[in-house]
Each structure stands twice: as structure tokens, then as C-alpha cells.
Amino acid sequence: MEGHQRNLPLYDRFNARVVGVSVDDVTTLKYWAKSLDLTFPLLSNVTGFLGPSFGVGPSPEIKGFPVFSRRTVIIDPKGIIRYAKDGSPDFKDILLFLKKMNKEGGKP
């Protein structure tokens, strides 16, 4: 999460916005965001209904706990998922993809 916070100026440069989605409740997310000085939105989705929309299921690593598997998804202005990668975010890969997408978006 701190990696995304550090990269906010770069996301802005490439006309991207970042949003976190979690099955944690709102209170937990508020305290968590405060502890890490996060300023971007975190969405609480306690029932987990958003998971399948992004191809995310319950984490196989932590059985019995209602947590999402970790996945990074980039959605274009038309709502199409253009990038999806499981595991810890590869920030350099994400930034290069956003830069490329931003360039394509700027073409006539």
C-alpha cells in the first residue's frame, strides 16, 4: 500500500486513479489507512461480491479467513480490464503499463 501511496504523483501524471478493495470493515480500513498515511480511497466490501468481477477469490494461503487473494487490476475508461496480475504489486510493471496506456489514450 505504501508503494501505491509513494507512486500517487506518477499515477496522476499518467491520468490513473488508484482504489483499494478489501473485505475488511470500514473501521478497520480507516485505522489501517491512518497507520500508513494512505490518502487514496479504500473500499470496504465485506461480503466480497466485488471479488469475482476482478477474478479474485478467497485467498488459498490463509484458509478459513475471509480475505481476498492479492491482485492488481487496471481498468480502462471503457471499463475493460487491461491488466491483471496476482501477488504483490509489481510497481515498475504497473507504471510502465500505465505510461503506455496513457500514450495510447492520447492518440487521435
Binding site: S22, F68, R70, R71, V73, I94
Partner: protein
């Protein structure tokens, strides 16, 4: 006028951090020695090498730190010293002083040490050709009967804060070895970049 294409970057997470694992260097060396005797690390960094009894360590997963050196010290566990160069130290601020405050809220978070961290010294230093901050801290774990002394140096690479840090672990009644801190000081004082960072290139190249 900037054109907003309205991309949305979403991510889900487990709510837990994955710790990085330091492992000894593999057979293919990521460094070479220059004619002046300095180490050239992946053609990107140059610095004075530590004595030969320090082993190279690298991150293979995660991103807690980039690379560094480890020395097992004489005496009972956990007697060892380790120093690293970190491109992404804890925290988000682009100002070294503020980053230091953020950093020490998370530093050594996976140990009990963070609950008892004492700042022993804090001073401005010249590092990487600019102003930086050096902090010396110590923490003790009365349950495990261990202690750690650490020096962290924050500097800038482009717009971003980077850090160097040394941790020296000892049993509670052990004595620290100041020579490791001298080796560490030579490391960060001699450290220089041979090319622009990924982030500098990202924003400068068309």
C-alpha cells in the same frame, strides 16, 4: 491541458504484508570490481567494498531492501551485523526528515523490538551529493534477551527518498562492535549512482 483518460487502478490485498527474504548471493554475481577497487553493482551503483568477511545478500521476493552485506559476529546468537541499500524504505514522504519519522513506525515491525525503540542520535548529513538525515537507534527485547543497535541514513535519488541501514544484533549482555558502523559509514559515504533510476527515466523519457 492535461487529458484525463480516467483509468482506474484497482487492487485487492490480503491485509497482510509479505516479508522479504534475504538470501546469500547466487553463483552469477551481480557486481564487479572497478580498476579503482570499488564495487560496481549491476552497472547502476558504485561504492567502496566492505572487508572480505562480509557476505553479499540480495532480495529475491518482496522488496524490503535491495542488497547489502552480512557478517556473522563472534559470540552467541543472534550476534550478527547487516547493512543494506534500500530503494523503497518504509514511508511515503519525499522529505528525508519526515520520511525518518514514518520509517521508524514500521522499522523492525516483525520483531518485538519496535515497541522499545530508542533514538540515540539524529543529525543532518551530506549523502548522495545532497542533504540527508542519519539516525542511530537501539532496541531491546527483554523476553528474548536480545538487543539491536541500528544506524539509518536517508538521502534522495531524484524525487524519491532512499535509505541505507545497518542493524547489529546482540544477546542482551553482549557488546556492540563499532568497527561494523565504520564499515557501514564507508559504504554510504562512498555510494554513488552511475545512471538514472527507473523513476527518473520513467518521467523524463517520452
Amino acid at each position: 491541458m492535461r487529458r484525463h483518460i480516467g483509468m482506474l487502478l484497482c487492487f485487492a490485498w490480503m491485509g497482510m504484508m509479505v516479508s522479504a527474504c534475504a538470501t546469500p548471493g547466487t553463483a552469477q554475481k551481480p557486481y564487479r570490481f572497478s580498476q579503482q577497487g570499488t564495487i560496481i553493482w549491476q552497472d547502476e551503483f558504485e561504492f567502496k567494498p566492505p572487508p572480505s568477511n562480509w557476505r553479499v545478500i540480495q532480495v529475491e521476493v518482496g522488496g524490503e531492501f535491495g542488497f547489502g552485506f552480512l557478517k556473522v559476529d563472534s559470540g552467541p546468537a543472534p550476534s550478527q551485523s547487516m547493512f543494506v541499500y534500500d530503494e523503497e524504505p518504509f514511508g511515503c514522504s519525499t522529505e528525508p526528515g519526515e520520511r525518518g519519522r514514518e520509517f521508524f513506525r514500521r522499522y523492525l515491525w516483525s520483531t518485538a523490538m519496535i515497541a522499545d525503540m530508542q533514538i540515540l542520535e539524529k543529525k543532518n548529513v551530506n549523502v548522495l551529493g545532497g542533504e540527508g538525515l542519519a539516525v542511530v537507534a537501539e532496541a531491546k527485547d527483554p523476553v528474548k534477551k536480545e538487543k539491536v543497535k541500528s544506524k539509518v541514513v536517508f538521502g534522495k535519488r531524484g524525487d524519491r527518498v532512499v535509505a541505507f541501514y545497518l542493524t547489529q544484533w546482540r544477546p542482551m549482555d553482549g557488546t556492540y562492535d563499532p568497527s561494523a558502523f565504520e564499515v557501514f559509514d564507508r559504504f554510504w559515504e562512498s555510494f554513488r549512482f552511475l545512471k538514472k533510476s527507473f523513476y527518473q527515466t520513467l518521467v523524463e523519457d517520452p
